[in-house]
Every structure is written in C-alpha cells, then in structure tokens.
C-alpha cells in the first residue's frame, strides 16, 4: 500500500547482494534461471495457472457466481533459505511458540506474568480476545496453540523479524504443499540440482499432533476438521487437509452433543468424535456460549470441551496471545517463562500507553506506522511517510484521546526476491509464514508459505490485495 522513499538504501534482496553477486543458497538456481529462456518460463507459468484451475486450488470470493473462485497467483521463482538460516530461524520459532503457549496457560490459570508486573491486568481482562470461559480449565498437555503460523520478514541486512503471530486459525499451509507439488511437476530437473528439504509430511505430522492432543484415555481418537462450509474463502484448505489426513471434513450441523460427548451423524448412526480441528473462529463455535446467532457451530460443544470429553484445536481463547496489544511483550514472555534470551526479534514496537513511547511517536509521526491494536486488515492504521499532513493531524488527535489503543513501528524495508512478472524477472517484496506444530514436542516442516507482493514497490502480500505465493526451499547441508 505504501511505497518506500526513493532515498532509502535498497532493501535486502534474497538472491543478489548489493554489488550483484549471487547469494550462496541461490548459486545453482540463479545459474539455471539465466540459462532458461523467458518464453519457456512464460509457458510454465501458463501451465501452472491451468493446472491450479483444474485442480480447483482457489479461494471463493463472496458474492460472486458459484464456480467463480479465484486463483492465488503462483510465482515460479522459488524463495530459497540455506540450511543454516533455517536452523537459526526454526530455533527462534520453537522458542517463541513455547513461550506463547506458556503465556496462554498462565493467563487462564495463575496469572504469574501479571503478578510479576510485566503486563498490566487490564490489558488482559479488558481485551475482547480474553475468554473468561477458559479460566481454570486444564487442556491436554497444556497446549493451546497446536498450530501456529508465525509471520516473519527480513529487513536491514537480512535479519529476521516476527511481524505477527497467528494463533487462532492460521491458514495457508495448503498453498505451501500445493506450491511444492507444482514446482516438482513444472521443474523436476531443479530438484535434481538442489537438495530441497521435503515438506510433504506436514499432514502426517498434523494428524499425529492432533491425535496426541486427544482427551486422556481415548485409545484410538477420531479426528475431524470443522469447516464453516464450501462458501468459506479457505474451504479448499479445509477439504485438502481433511483429505490428506484421511479424516472427515464436517460442518457444524454434522456434529451434535449428547450425554456430554460429541458425535457426528453418519450413515451408520452417531459416531464419537474426540478431536475437533476447527477452522471456525471462537465466536461461532457454540451458539449456547458465544454468538447465539451462529449457525456454523455446535450447540453444547463448549460444555463437552470443559468436561474434557473433546479436544478443540486450537484451544478457545488463544487470541489473547496474538493480539497487537500483546505482541510487544512476546520477547518478555520468552525471558519470563523460559529464562532465555529471545532468538527471534520483534519489529521494534512502541507501546503508546507508555508516556515516553507516546512522546517519541507524536514527534516522529511522519516516519512511523501506527496501528490500532484491535484493528485488522489495514483499518485503523497510519502509514506516516505516505500520509498527508491532515491525516497525520487527525491521527494525532485519535492517539491523544486513547493512547492505549495504539502501537507504533518503523516502516520496514521488507526483503525482495526475484519474481517472474509481466515485465520479466524483477524484485518484489516477500514475507514468510512457517507453520509450527505443538504437541508432545514442537515441530516445523522446513520452510513455510512465502507470500509475495506482485505490484512493484508494494509491501502488501495479502491474497485479497494482489499478493501471490512462492514455493519455499530450505536447502539441506
């Protein structure tokens, strides 16, 4: 949405150094790319588009005629990480997600972190993401965020920063898997030239993880994927994961609660369900407890959950840990719960409830991005460098009226990666969402989903705003 200033140094490019040398992980690929004629690339891209259409790897667009699902543009140039880069990143992700799970457990039990004065109680109690229904409830293994999608960017000299933690119903993993499948189909020779770590086992890991989260004493747990239905924008992913795991894809109406247990309606009568991998937000899960107008949920699910007769993954109430107002405290959580220094940095964030951060921000509004803590999708956001004086003045007044509602961050120059666009190969900004599974231990398949902003200069990678995806390679030693 916002463009960088012309005077800024060029952003970190994933493939080339500032003086034009190829970075080591790309050495084999870059050589191949320069030899490959552009026509051949164009043809491969067209082939990819037609395959994605036929396979129906699409997202539904609300209000359009049925069958009009759109493709998320797929870029044929992969994003490549070295084994060493990945080791460092993965260690940081593991640490971070462990701390986040410990934080959620603490928030719904003893409130140690509040009593230690690191986070003030009203930031939790007054937060709409805090679910009092979860207070004091023990969940299997103490795991809340079984599946986490951590958005990571690179800036400066290539340092990694966490931009956002997604701990509710993170999506995108199906694109990670389909992008790999597509690359192997289009360019098998590249996989002979490069030792790319596999990602195909993600569904097995996920199933194992979900089964291990079943209520205690269930010998052979039945797992289901709960979807809002075929009209949901992420329906492809829900169906894909259910199919890959070999479990039922259910809608709310397929489930019911009887005698405290959850059942699904089958052609042979009711069948017990032990683990619900839900892809529905908390608010819609159980009309008896949350939004009563929800037709997507299962009446009584929450009572079965509270009685420990079914596991809901991710747990209810994880939103308290991925809220923008809580994000600035994640490094402190790592120190507090794990006694370690954080391996992965946050984007330096100023919390405007603190007077000195507030003063600094008001003095530097033209340099900073100011975000409303409960805003989403770019609403309630000021991009200082591109905003007009009037917009900045308007925001200054809004901040002064309620500083606790805002955080401020520097405008980051996201790294770029060469991308095949209409004009040929050109650098475009990217991010990365690795998927972290927490169960008996924490596991991450190497890589994740790389999203790319296809418009020149754009920093917006969201699929709803013209973002695309790339296959993400982690090279093996």
């Amino acid at each position: 949405m916002h463009r960088r200033h012309q005077a800024d140094p060029p952003p970190y490019d994933e493939m080339y150094t500032a003086d034009g040398r190829v970075r080591p992980p790309y050495s084999v690929y870059a050589g191949w790319l320069t030899r490959e004629p552009e026509d051949a690339l164009r043809q491969k891209r067209a082939e990819a588009d037609s395959l994605f259409h036929r396979v129906g790897i699409t997202f539904a667009v609300y209000g359009e005629e049925d069958g009009n699902e759109r493709l998320i543009p797929f870029d044929i140039v992969p994003r490549i990480l070295s084994a060493d880069e990945w080791r460092r990143l993965a260690a940081g992700l593991r640490q971070r997600v462990k701390a986040l799970n410990a934080f959620i457990a603490d928030i719904y039990h003893g409130h140690e972190i509040l009593r230690a004065g690191i986070i003030s109680p009203e930031q939790i109690i007054c937060n709409p993401q805090y679910r009092p229904e979860m207070q004091g409830l023990d969940v299997p293994g103490g795991i809340y965020a079984h599946i986490a999608g951590i958005d990571v960017v690179r800036a400066g000299q290539g340092e990694f920063y966490v931009l956002e933690d997604n701990l509710r119903v993170p999506s995108g993993v199906s694109y990670m898997l389909e992008d790999r499948k597509m690359m192997m189909r289009l360019f098998p020779e590249l996989f002979a030239l490069n030792r790319v770590a596999p990602v195909e086992h993600y569904p097995d890991r996920l199933l194992e993880n979900l089964r291990s989260a079943a209520p205690a004493g269930v010998a052979d747990p039945v797992v289901v994927v709960l979807t809002p239905g075929a009209h949901n924008s992420a329906y492809f992913e829900h169906a894909f994961l259910a199919q890959q795991m070999g479990v039922e894809l259910v809608e709310g109406a397929d489930l019911f609660v009887r005698d405290g247990f959850v059942f699904m309606r089958t052609t042979r009568g009711p069948q017990r369900v032990d683990v619900v991998y839900r892809r529905i937000d908390d608010d819609f899960l159980d009309p008896l407890v949350f939004r009563s107008d929800s037709a997507l949920g299962v009446p009584g699910l929450m009572s079965a959950y509270r009685a420990g007769r079914v596991t809901v993954a991710n747990a209810i109430g994880t939103g308290i840990a991925d809220d923008k107002s809580i994000y600035p405290y994640v490094p402190d959580m790592v120190r507090f719960y794990l006694g370690e220094e954080p391996l992965l940095a946050n984007v330096p964030t100023r919390v405007l409830r603190r007077p000195d951060d507030l003063a600094y921000t008001l003095a530097h509004l033209d340099e900073l991005v100011v975000k409303e803590v409960h805003g989403a999708g770019g609403y309630g956001m000021l991009v200082g460098p591109t905003a007009s004086a009037a917009e900045r003045e308007d925001f200054r007044l809004r901040i002064l009226a309620a500083p606790e509602k805002y955080i401020a961050q520097p405008t980051l120059a996201l790294s770029t990666c060469p991308t095949f666009v209409e004009q040929g190969i050109a650098p475009r900004h990217i991010d990365l969402r690795p998927f972290v599974l927490s169960g008996k231990d924490v596991s991450i398949v190497p890589g994740g989903l790389t999203r790319v902003a296809l418009r020149a200069g754009s920093l917006v990678v969201n699929s709803s705003q013209g973002g695309g995806t790339k296959d993400t390679w982690v090279l093996e030693d």
């Binding site: 049925d66 169906a239 259910a242 042979r268």
Partner: protein, 317 residues
C-alpha cells in the same frame, strides 16, 4: 461415512447421470426433428418430451406454445434459469463434488470440475443450438471419462455405493422417461391415429442409448416399439437397461444396509424382481407406458427412502 457426505456423493451420481441422460434424450429428439416429413410433428414431439421431463409448464410459462426446435434445445441444454438444463446439471454435479472433494479422489474432483469449467466457458460460444450434436457428443464423452475415473480411482467404500445408487436410480428414471417420450410420440403421430410403426425412430433411440449394435447382436427381433422397450427394460446385460440399473441399486443398497433400511431393501428387491421376471407380452404397447410409469414411481420411492434411512433427510409429515 458422514450422512452429509453420503448425500453429496449420491447427488453427484444423480446429477452426472442426469446430464448424460438429458443429452441422450435430446439426441433422439433432435435427430428425429431432422427427419424428412417430421416437421408437423415437431411441436407435438417436443411438447410430449417436455411434459414427460416435467418441464412443460415451466417452458410454456416462459415461451408459450412455441416449440421451435432451437428454442427447446436451448432451454434443455444451455438455459441458466432452467435448473434441469444440462448445463445446470453439470454445475450441480460439480458443486456436489466440491462439497466432498476431500472424500472423493482428486482425479474425480478434477474431472467434474474441469467438465463444468469447460461447459461454462464454451457453451455460449462454441456450443449453441445450431451445433447441438457436437455438444451432445461432448457431454457423452465427458460422462464416459468421468465414469472411467470413478471406476479407476474411487475407494470402494460407502461413498462409492451411494454414488452408484444415485447413478442407477437416475439412469432407470432417465431411460424410462426416454422410452415413454418415444411411446407418447408414437401415439400421437401426425395423422392423429396410431400409425404403422416406423422402425426409424426406435433405431435412433437405440443408437442414443449406445445400444443399437447390441440390439442387432443379441436380438433377432425386428425393431418395433414393443421389442425395443422389452430390450431396454429386461436385458440383464445391456449397460443402460432398467433391469441392470435396478440390480445395481439393490446390490449397492445391500452393501450399506443399516438398522433401519430393511424395508427400503425389500422395495428395491421388488423393483428388481419386477424387471428380472417381468414381460410386456401380456401388456402390449399400450400397457408399456403404465409399466414404465410404475418403474419411475418405484425409483422415486427408493430415492426418498434412501434419503430418510441414510442421508439424514427429514421425514415429511
């Protein structure tokens, strides 16, 4: 299997088969409309066809009594407002496949999806009422392809059985309708009185059912209405015969039987026996229509009972 999943695969089978049956029905009527000397009967033929397809009132509400061939073909094949047009059946098959894409094989989903995408993209331009024969061939070809994909890639679990039941109940219904349309057209030939049966329309019908060569090979009978109806009803070895459809419904139903389905199985057995041991000899061509109507009614009764016993449909009343 989830009842909702079974419901979707069942209707996937039904809609895919319905599109094919409609294409075959259209094939017969269209070819006959091209025959010399048929033009006075054209309107009557289409009106009969539409009424046996239960679409006549919808048609006349929109177009009056104008049964011009191209208009009717457009309505049956491409019309987006006609929920039963071939195009909409392909769409409905695809939507049902999409709802259970995690349960059926990826190849199946891709086949139904690409059929619909191609139909939607090309029906208004490449295919029109002017070259409907090409469209009919295309629909039949895609149906053959889908059938092969189902046979070659689908797990033989309950989903397969429900899809088979949907397919063969729909086929029995569609073939019975096609025969009844033909009989009805015979009964109201241009002169207004029963005519000596021309073998030609029945040959066209056999060809449209991919059964002309089989008829020639296994039957020494002449191509007469009675012989063709008997052939299409009672042969156990003809792919689109009523008996074969009823036998497959009965078999597949047996594979999914549950605690409440005994009566449904019994009724499927009755339908099967009717066709297995029946003859038309005593009924004559006049009784054939009543016989076929009875087969259709029984097929619909089975449809309702399957919905109730397995698919989570609410019992009316």
């Amino acid at each position: 299997m989830l009842s909702r999943t079974a419901d979707h695969v069942y209707w996937l089978g039904r809609y895919a088969e319905r599109a094919e049956n409609l294409a075959r029905t259209l094939d017969v009527q269209y070819r006959l409309s091209l025959l010399p000397g048929q033009s006075p009967a054209e309107g009557i033929g289409w009106a009969r066809a539409l009424s046996i397809l239960r679409l006549n009132s919808q048609y006349t509400a929109r177009f009056g009594e104008d049964y011009e061939t191209h208009r009717v073909i457009d309505f049956l094949a491409f019309d987006r407002e006609n929920a039963s047009s071939i195009l909409n059946c392909l769409r409905a098959a695809r939507e049902n496949a999409r709802a259970v894409r995690g349960t059926i094989s990826s190849e199946m989903w891709e086949t139904f999806n690409s059929t619909w995408l191609e139909a939607r993209a090309t029906a208004p331009s490449r295919f029109t009422a002017r070259n409907v024969a090409e469209f009919i061939e295309w629909v039949k070809y895609r149906a053959h392809l889908a059938r092969g994909v189902v046979l070659g890639s689908m797990l033989r679990d309950e989903g397969y059985h429900f899809m088979q039941m949907g397919t063969f109940l729909e086929r029995a219904d569609g073939v019975a309708r096609l025969l009844r349309i033909r009989l009805a057209c015979e009964a109201t030939a241009p002169t207004g009185e029963p005519v000596t049966h021309d073998y030609l329309p029945w040959t066209v019908l056999l060809r449209a059912l991919s059964a002309y060569e089989i008829f020639r090979r296994v039957s020494r009978d002449q191509v007469t209405p009675l012989h063709v109806v008997e052939f299409c009803a009672f042969r156990p070895d003809v792919p689109r015969s009523l008996l074969r459809s009823a036998a497959l419904v009965f078999d597949n139903l047996g594979s999914v039987a549950n605690t409440q389905s005994a009566e449904t199985q019994r009724r499927a057995g009755v339908l099967h026996s009717m066709l297995r041991f029946g003859t038309l000899g005593a009924l004559g061509a006049g009784g054939a229509d009543a016989f076929l109507e009875d087969v259709m009614a029984r097929a619909w009764d089975l449809n309702d009972r399957i919905g109730r016993d397995f698919l989570g449909h609410v019992v009316p009343g």
